[in-house]
Amino acid sequence: MRICSLFKYGLFILVTMVSCRDPFEPELSAFSTEVLVVEGFIELEGESIVRLSKTSPLQSEITGNLVSSAFISLSDGEDNRWDFVELEEGIYSLEGSFSENSTYFLHIQLRNGHTYRSEPLIPVISPEIEVLDYIRDEDGVEIFVSTRGTEAAQYFLWTFEEHWIFQPGVVSQLIYENGTVRRRSEQERIDRCWDSNLNPSIVLQNAARFEDNRILQRELVRIPNLSEKLTQRYSIEVRQMAIDQSAFDFWDILRRNSEDVGGIFSPLPSLINGNIQSLSEEVPQAIGHISMGKTSTKRIYIDLDDVFPWPVFIPEYEFCFVLNDTIPPNLVSTQFASGNLIPARDIFNQMGALLGYRASNRACTDCTLRGTNVRPEFWEDQQ
């Protein structure tokens, strides 16, 4: 809450006036075990992904710590069992169709023999996303969702994926290849790329607080002014999951614990557990809350035209320009072979004869260094 954070901030300043800050390295020897982390959502229809990893020590540089070669399965109360397959390290997938009226369990067995089982998973059907839209305001663009919960679906969790087109600092349609410079083909374009941001954060909302369980204009993400996301065209796909209260609490604690780590007047951190119990003795409960149900997704596009004018500032391209020297055609191989310079403009005289090329840095012209020039499968161009 805003008041609290202001207060914390305030106190912190008072305290710094007379205080000192020293590094603190507690001996955490007591905590040596790695804890299993389980993340995922079981879809009633289609593909479900479960990701297994382990905690890593606080100071370590490791971030992933994925767990492979585990055996994961889903069962119902009646001896039916469906096995997951490992797609890549730590990522397990299951295709199937399940009944919304049954209760399921997720089983995990690690290579070291530790076994885990979820608490009963009761599928929750998410209502459709009613509105996914945006507002242009002085601070940028706010993307929001509106939906209407039901008696069974009151707690909502949204994840989203963003994709957008951006352009490099210097647009070039030329390519140097085998001693000559020629026009790029569509596949070779480096002047238009897609970047993406997959599941950057989670958004939670409890519909029960509102009349009719209606959630109106819940902000999901904000695109600040000058962002490259609206250079041309931007797309967001939102996945709406209806979860039960314990899952909601889990995600809420997760969020709060990350926002505020051990400040002076910050709330005491809360324990995170979830619904994956350990069946092996002496092995702690896994972190993670697996929910099951039917999600609802929706995608929208936002074009530059919709928000025009939208000046863009990309720090990486701040000092990009086309070099003044014209490289005559007979020198292209010495200049462009290394790949550090890329021909950006072809210069013709008044008669239409090629004088040479003006170049720019690769970092300024090649957008594939920051994204991909491969059009995402779902991508629809502006009508």
Partner: protein, 917 residues
């Protein structure tokens, strides 16, 4: 003259004599030579006194005109007096210390009272015997006053006047009692007393209430008068204060009581030179704090909201200035501070852990006096004295002028809009309507206002007023009626930008009425009983827009109303001289009242928004929920011998108002919550046992107290709950139970140039989610340490008086670091890096250790001087140890780095000038 038959004791000579009399060395009587030609008897005694060590005691009225006409040559005094008084009615007796008593009709009986040696002889303890002689020296208990003329009466009435040694004012309420027959009397407002005693030898004890005990040996022969001068004010001389403490440690029936007078507080080095009530009590065993800049204190493993802080009957909700750097009580008007850790007297209730009773003075009755002080951050001024014959007052003010210092400290920071200021005001007045009625008025106000940047201002305020009427029905029964109102409020003004400018406010108001009776039923039974009632009105929080442009939506949590009432009865029973019991009981009634919306949840299920079964609107005066139940206050003392005793106690309590915080430390912006139909009242009990012993002629006092406490219905907070502006706080809390136990060892030296105390406390305070709480099990429902669980705590307070005017003090403090929940691992989840925390409070911050030093220099003590002044200077945190207050983690280059924050990380020098006019 009415008293001409009586032997008048010349008090002046008594006092001088008792202080300076030489030990007896006159086995052989001194010889006297000289011519005494028809001189008056008083003159004769003067001449003899000048030649010899003899001292004379006689009635000037009787012997004024008596002529001595004798010539002596190497005669003993006995021979001379025999000759002088031959054929007269006068008799004399000379005791072993060369004191000569001249009486009419019968010589003074120099034999001792029959109970005189009883106790001393029966004890073989050397300490005990030493103590007897010590007391003999101190109190001249072996002087015998013969009173009245012999008659055939079996019983005689002794009357007299008790006055103060220094002031000569009559002492009101002094107790005169006689042990063998258990007779007693109390002096009236003019200092007169009357007691009926059997004729013969007696030891009389005269005690000013709560103070010094005088003793007189009398031989009562008939009705007579004995005037006694006693120390009037227990804090008038530090030596006398010490003597009174000396008596209480072993003999007072309550246990777990710590008393500090302002004199001892002044000796404790204080931060920034300000004598500080709360910091002073932190040096006592069993009292701890979570950090240097926190508002509350913790008594015997209890939370900070379980302390009842009373300032002349006013409940003070926030006793601190500047986040707890200073306590909000002006040291010049504070008279004494009493902390009850166990054995809370029956007239107090409503808080589980302790009662801190701060007594402010009502002004002296001699002259207008101005006291003040100037320190680095604060200045204070107070005036007290009489207005007319029957009225005295005391008025105090204190304020900061601290901005310059804050700015000095800020120079190295990029922060320059901070402001912090506070003040406190107090006014107390006492008016004696007549001999039987006294009216007392108290007003108190403390205010804090601070901001750290231009945008946000915080303030909080205590505002209290009460009026009391004390009525003396007779010598044995008195009553005090007090009516008052206590207010506490805090607010935040956000002025970040005009569109979201807001005001946030919280306040609590309580109106109370209480009547308390003291009834000395007889020597064995002292009753105290009464009724009290408090009406609460609490505004849990309101946020509203400020200014026309603001779009902040007004939001307000429902106002809460409650009525807490109690009636109580206590009896102090002296079963024998050794065994005293204090039995007390309270019955408390609590009503949570409308108007409000009551929320009712499905029984048996965890309280959450999904289990809310119905809401019901209640109107003003409707009772939403009632709680009631008894509380017990039982303690006993058994005196083992003159110098040691054991005490035991058991008490229970209920608390209906809770501080709602989920911070480790208490912030001045934490809200309070009243018990309602979902939040049950806290309940606690304590069983305690102690051993008390005085050593080396009472120079040292030693005590060990152990205790065990159980607490129920404490509030802990659900993971990630929001507490501010929450209309459904019950959905954010988990019910917990607590357990605390420990031992406190105190060795105190009260007298001599070197005085002070050493204490060691072992204490644990543990919490556990209640068994039937289903909402959340913190640490899987196991016991875990409370935020303020600091098992080992040792304190040294030492004071050395180099001379009457120059003294140095040292204060050393060690305690185990408080528990903390640490991030122990990290993991990826929901697209971000997350931290995994240890079990709640599984780790501790480093231990705390600090030494402070101060030097006090008093001005000279000439009586006629414009102003008495004193200087106090010293260093806080002499070693500059960086004691961690908090530990926090913040990402640095992608990895979480831990930091410890020390608040007073360097030695902080201070200087204060105090004056008294």
């Amino acid at each position: 003259m009415k008293r001409n038959k009586l032997l008048l004791i010349i008090i002046y000579s008594l006092v001088i004599n008792s202080l300076f009399h030489a030990p007896s060395h006159a086995q052989v009587q001194e010889k006297i030579s000289g011519l005494f030609p028809g001189i008056p008897f008083p003159r004769f005694t003067q001449q003899v006194t000048s030649m010899t060590d003899y001292r004379f005691y006689f009635s000037p009225d009787d012997l004024q005109d008596f002529q001595v006409n004798i010539s002596a040559k190497d005669n003993t005094l006995s021979q001379i007096l025999e000759a002088v008084f031959d054929q007269t009615d006068f008799k004399f007796s000379i005791d072993s210390e060369e004191r000569v008593f001249i009486t009419k009709h019968q010589p003074l009986d120099l034999k001792l009272a029959k109970d005189f040696f009883e106790r001393g002889n029966s004890k073989e303890d050397l300490d005990s015997l030493n103590r007897q002689t010590d007391i003999e020296r101190a109190y001249s208990r072996n002087k015998l006053y013969v009173i009245g003329n012999p008659s055939s009466q079996k019983e005689a009435t002794l009357s007299g006047k008790i006055t103060g040694i220094e002031t000569g004012n009559p002492v009101f309420g002094a107790v005169v009692f006689e042990r063998a027959e258990y007779r007693r009397a109390i002096s009236n407002e003019d200092g007169y007393f009357q007691i009926l005693l059997p004729v013969g030898r007696h030891t009389l004890f005269i005690q000013n209430l709560g103070g010094f005990i005088e003793q007189r040996q009398i031989s009562l022969q008939g009705d007579g008068i004995l005037d006694v001068a006693i120390e009037e004010n227990i804090i008038s001389l530090s030596e006398v204060t010490v003597s009174s403490d000396r008596m209480t440690n072993v003999s007072r029936p309550e246990m777990g009581v710590q008393k500090l007078n302002i004199q001892s507080m002044k000796k404790i080095p204080a931060i920034l030179g300000e004598v500080d009530v709360i910091r002073s009590i932190l040096t006592l065993p069993g009292v701890q704090t979570v950090g240097e800049a926190s508002v509350g204190f913790n008594v015997r493993g209890g939370a900070a909201d379980q302390n009842l802080i009373l300032y002349n009957h006013s409940t003070i909700y926030n006793p601190s200035h500047l986040f707890g750097l200073f306590s909000a009580f002006n040291p010049d008007v504070v008279e004494s501070v009493e902390l009850y850790k166990a054995g809370i007297p029956v007239q107090y209730g409503g808080r589980l852990s302790s009662v801190l009773d701060i007594k402010a003075n009502y002004g002296n009755n001699e002259k207008i006096r101005v006291t003040g002080g100037i320190g680095l951050l604060t200045g204070r001024l107070s005036v007290d004295g009489p207005i007319g014959e029957r009225t005295t007052f005391s008025l105090g003010a204190r304020s900061t002028y601290s901005d310059w210092l804050l700015q000095l400290l800020e120079e190295n920071t990029d922060f320059n809009d901070g402001r912090a200021s506070f003040y406190d005001l107090n006014f107390s007045m006492s008016h004696q309507l007549n001999n039987k009625n006294i009216i007392r008025v108290n007003a108190y106000n403390s205010n804090d206002n601070f901001r750290f940047d231009r945008d946000t201002t915080f303030r909080y305020e205590n505002l209290n007023f009460n009026i009391g009427w004390t009525h003396y029905f007779n010598e044995r029964l008195e009553a005090e009626l007090v009516l008052g109102r206590d207010n506490y409020a805090f607010g935040i003004e956000g002025r970040d930008n005009p569109s979201n400018a807001y005001d946030f406010g919280f306040n609590i108001r309580q109106d109370f009425a209480k009547i308390h009776f003291n009834y000395d039923y007889n020597f064995r039974h002292k009753f105290n009983f009464g009724v009290q009632s408090t009406r609460y009105r609490l505004n849990p929080g309101k946020i509203q827009p400020s200014g026309l442009e603001s779009i902040v939506v007004t939001e307000e949590v429902n106002q809460e109303h409650a009525l807490e009432s109690a009636f109580y009865f206590g009896d102090n029973i002296e079963i024998s001289e050794q065994l005293t019991l204090s039995l007390g009981g309270r019955y408390v009634l609590y009503h949570f009242l409308g108007p409000n919306t009551g929320r009712f949840y499905t029984p048996g299920l965890p309280i959450s928004s999904t289990t809310l079964s119905r809401e019901e609107t209640f109107n003003q005066g409707d009772v939403i929920q009632t709680y009631h139940g008894p509380e017990f206050r039982i303690s006993g003392r058994y005196i083992l011998n003159n110098i040691s005793s054991i005490k035991a106690g058991y008490n229970t309590g209920r608390q209906f108002i809770h501080l709602v915080t989920n911070n480790a430390a208490i912030a001045p912006t934490d809200i309070w919550k009243l018990s309602d139909n979902n939040i049950l009242p806290q309940w606690g009990d304590q069983i305690s046992l102690g051993y008390y012993r005085n050593l080396k002629l009472d120079r040292y006092e030693f005590s060990v107290e152990t205790y065990h406490r159980s607490l129920r219905n404490l509030l802990d907070f659900r993971s990630g709950s929001t507490l501010i502006l929450n209309n459904t706080v019950e959905q954010a809390v988990v019910r917990s139970e607590g357990r605390a136990y420990g031992a406190e060892i105190l060795l105190r030296k009260n007298t001599g140039k070197l005085n002070g105390w050493v204490s060691y406390t072992y204490s644990r305070s543990l919490l556990r989610t209640a068994k039937d709480e289903e909402a959340e099990k913190i640490n899987n429902g196991e016991w875990y340490p409370n935020n303020f669980d600091q098992p080992h705590n040792a304190v040294l307070v030492g004071n050395y008086e180099w001379s009457k005017r120059f003294s140095t003090s040292i204060n050393a403090n060690y305690s185990t670091g408080r528990p903390i929940t640490l991030p122990v691992a990290k993991f990826q989840y929901g697209g971000s890096e997350r931290v995994f925390f240890s079990d709640r409070n599984a780790y501790r911050i480093p231990d705390y250790f600090r030494i402070d030093l101060s030097v006090n220099i008093e001005g000279n003590h000439k009586v006629r001087k414009l102003a008495h002044s004193s200087w106090s200077f010293g260093v806080y945190n002499l070693l500059g140890r960086r004691n961690p207050y908090s530990v926090f983690f913040t990402p640095v280059n992608g990895t979480l780095q831990g930091y410890q924050l020390s608040i007073f990380a360097q030695p902080i020098p201070f200087i204060t000038y105090n004056f008294k006019i």
